[in-house]
């Protein structure tokens, strides 16, 4: 062991975390590779997108090539009881949950960070495209007036993953390293070649790892059969124009798969839980100009003192939209958009940005 700081890199066998590990090693850190074994449906383990036997063996080979130790950790129970449970409960409650947010908060930056620190690490790194900026010699932030660690978007806006990292606290960010934040995906692929790392031409993992080869609907039918709960599809005048299979199988803004023959295309506008009804409307009637978010995390550690104009992302891949963000009591926030948005989806996160600085965000509430 040298006197260099020790960093645990969360590895997946993919090109991003492998290059991140190589960069850290090059920067002189003591690097330890770790990988979590996550939960899969019994009998479907080989379909998991994050931690198959193959990807673990690949990560192990890469670690050996980089001459860093590698450890696999079991997180099946904690993953099942937090991430998967949250996913199922969200659909049962009529929202469209985002389990990656829970995974980042409770598993990667909770369970794994705890293990890394216990192992004696000073930092934990992931292959996320995002940046952290420490307080040294930097002016106070406009928002909170505090000197704190900032979470910044990746330099490559198309790859930016700060959306899923908006849940991090100052304490977590203090230990966080994102070696890829200043690079584009193409540069990362090129560096993989230069480091002599296998560039598995796997598709970027965007689907939920524990769904494997199933759709989320198939998964819910097996694991939460009570969501199969047919009810009426109503138009905005309250007329029954069809039947749905269960509200969980539909998403706000969805057009396909409604099974309604209508003169104009119809979109899911709203889920009415009390009546178990799916409300649909033509395109021109869709759109809301406001939302309320709860469980809001302010990266700076405290809400801003006054409402502020910010760019807001309402989905991972959504374009940011301008709005006025007003902090509310009880960890909530209200957003009034300057233009109405069609796909404000309860259960997804609304994440606030001041330019490249991620200010924080919260979970969009139902109406």
């Amino acid at each position: 062991m040298t006197n260099q700081p020790t960093v645990v890199i969360a590895m997946s066998g993919g090109v991003d975390s492998s290059v991140a590990a190589a960069l850290l090693k090059e920067q002189g850190y003591n690097v330890i590779g770790m990988m979590l074994r996550l939960w899969s449906e019994p009998g479907r383990e080989s379909e998991n997108r994050c931690c198959t036997v193959d990807s673990m063996s690949l990560a192990r080979r890469i670690a050996a090539q980089l001459d860093i130790p590698f450890y696999a950790l079991d997180a099946k129970n904690v993953f099942r009881e937090t991430v998967v449970q949250h996913f199922i409960e969200g659909y049962q409650a009529g929202v469209t949950p985002n389990p990656c947010l829970v995974c980042n908060r409770k598993i990667r930056w909770g369970f794994l960070l705890e293990q890394a620190l216990a192992l004696g690490a000073d930092f934990m790194a992931t292959g996320h495209y995002a940046r952290v900026k420490t307080a040294d010699g930097r002016p106070k932030t406009a928002v909170s007036g505090r000197r704190s660690i900032e979470l910044l978007k990746a330099l490559d806006d198309r790859k930016d993953q700060s959306y899923v990292l908006h849940v991090l606290t100052q304490e977590q960010l203090r230990h966080a390293r994102f070696p890829l934040g200043a690079y584009t995906k193409d540069e990362v692929r090129r560096m993989a070649g230069e480091f002599g790392l296998p560039v598995a031409s796997r598709a970027d993992s965007q689907d939920l790892c524990f769904l494997g080869d199933s759709s989320y609907g198939e998964f819910l039918q097996r694991n939460a059969p009570q969501v199969v709960n047919p009810g009426p599809i109503l138009n905005t005048r309250g007329e029954v124009i069809g039947q749905h299979r269960g509200l969980a199988f539909y998403t706000i803004g969805q057009r396909r798969g409604l099974g309604i023959a209508a003169a104009h295309p119809l979109y899911v506008q709203e889920k009415d839980l009390a009546r178990n009804a799916l409300i649909v409307a033509p395109l021109e009637e869709l759109g809301r100009s406001e939302l309320t978010a709860s469980e809001v995390n302010w990266i700076a550690g405290a809400p801003p003192e006054a409402p502020l104009r910010a760019e807001v992302k309402i989905r991972y891949k959504a374009r940011p939209s301008w709005g006025l963000v007003t902090p509310l009591l009880g960890g909530r926030a209200h957003v009034r958009f300057e233009e109405p948005l069609r796909d404000i989806t309860p259960g997804q996160a609304a994440v606030f940005y001041d330019g490249e600085v991620c200010l924080g965000g919260g979970i969009i509430e139902g109406e």
Binding site: R37, P69, Y71, A72, T82, Q85, E114, A118, L119
Partner: protein, 397 residues
């Protein structure tokens, strides 16, 4: 490896002794012939293989023709179990297999396959709290239709020695083939197949400072054995395939060194082992020795600790510079207690926290002291981590 890392996992593997490596080297480039060839290249290779066979036979107190060279201890176990069971069924119509619950997977998985696929009836012997088989339990379970019996000589996880000679005598008196897996014990104890009264005995070279990828099956003359790997007539038709000449030469050299040095090695190792067992049980609360306190391998100390995740402990140890092993030998992060620890009837909260420390002939006492100084703190850390994980899991459910 940097010399700051301390290797305490000799039951997993050992480094090749330089004297062994030297004996092997001529058989890669210079004497590379195929032992089955007629010409002088082949003759030289054949002479090397046959001389290795004589060395092994002399050490084991058997005839050279009773030595079968294989690719590893697991292959020897497979050949003994499958070959003896299938031969016994063909010649005697027998279908009963009797094994202990503390066998290496090479034996137990083979026996399970013989039961699942080939229709044999598989029966497990009981063991005591030290994982030891009693000859009386064997005696009452032997039947005329027993095809083969297999009891491990020294268990790899808990180090316990079994009374092989007594069990062998019972089987011999009834004419039932008896196999023992001596992969661990062969590295430490003199083995006399005549005194042990075994019909089959398995060895693997890399446990005794020989190379990986080579093993031996002793197969007593006259005991039926069906080949598992068919093909050429090598090894008297009992194991087809060109012999791995340099590795066979290396194994014989390494085994000869065991015969010369085993009492010195054992004396050195036993002192370290007893020091480890004594201090661990003294320094660490809620710790138990697994396996027999005295009837165990001279280099082998194994424990369970309450409230510890064994894999996590190995990680902490590795980061601190100590290479050890656990009961489950699992690198995929799937924590389940092993069958062996389960057979000891340990509570799950104990069985998950296993640790195996196995010293070698070159392990030095200062390194063992460094390990013993570090272990209590690492156990405490593993306990607080496991508690945090368990609490976390409960509070989030």
């Amino acid at each position: 490896m940097e010399n700051t890392f301390i290797y305490l996992d000799h039951a997993a593997s050992t480094p090749v002794d330089p004297r062994v490596l030297e004996a092997m080297l001529p058989f890669f480039e210079q004497n590379f012939g195929n032992p089955s060839s007629i010409h002088r290249f082949g003759q030289k290779a054949e002479a090397a293989v046959e001389s290795a066979r004589e060395q092994m036979a002399a050490a084991l107190n058997c005839q050279p023709r009773e030595i079968i060279f294989t690719a590893c201890g697991s292959e020897s176990d497979n050949l003994a179990l499958r070959g003896a069971a299938l031969a016994a069924r063909r010649e005697r119509g027998t279908h009963h297999i009797l094994i202990s619950p503390v066998e290496h997977h090479a034996v137990s998985r083979t026996a399970e396959q013989l039961a699942d696929v080939f229709g044999f009836e598989l029966e497990y012997l009981p063991v005591d709290a030290h994982g030891r088989v009693s000859p009386e339990d064997v005696a009452v379970r032997l039947r005329p239709e027993t095809a083969v019996v297999s009891v491990i000589h020294a268990n790899n996880e808990i180090g316990t020695l079994n009374p092989i000679a007594e069990i062998g005598a019972l089987c011999r008196a009834r004419g039932i083939p008896f196999h023992t897996d001596a992969v661990q014990s062969g590295a430490h104890l003199p083995l006399d197949v005549d005194a042990l009264k075994v019909d089959f005995l398995s060895l693997g070279a890399h446990k005794f400072y020989g190379p990986k990828g080579v093993g031996v099956l002793y197969a007593r003359q006259g005991v039926p054995l069906l080949p598992v790997q068919t093909g050429g007539a090598q090894e008297l038709g009992r194991r087809a395939g060109t012999q791995n000449v340099p590795y066979i030469v290396g194994m014989a050299a390494a085994f000869a060194l065991v015969q010369q040095e085993h009492s010195d090695r054992a004396e050195h190792e036993r002192a370290l082992r007893d020091r480890i067992i004594g201090r661990v049980l003294e320094d660490i609360p809620e710790a138990r020795l697994t396996g027999h306190p005295t009837e165990r391998l001279p280099n082998h100390a194994s424990f369970v600790f309450q409230g510890v995740d064994g894999n996590q402990l190995l990680m902490l140890l590795d980061v601190a510079g100590f290479a050890c092993s656990s009961g489950s030998a699992c690198k995929t992060g799937n924590p389940e207690p092993s069958e062996v620890l389960t057979a000891l009837d340990l509570p799950r909260e104990w069985a998950l926290g296993s640790l195996r420390v196995t010293v070698g002939k070159d392990t030095n006492p200062e390194d063992v002291e460094r390990f013993l100084d570090a272990l209590p703190g690492l156990i405490a850390k593993a306990r607080s981590l496991r508690k945090a994980t368990t609490d976390n899991t409960v509070s989030n459910s």
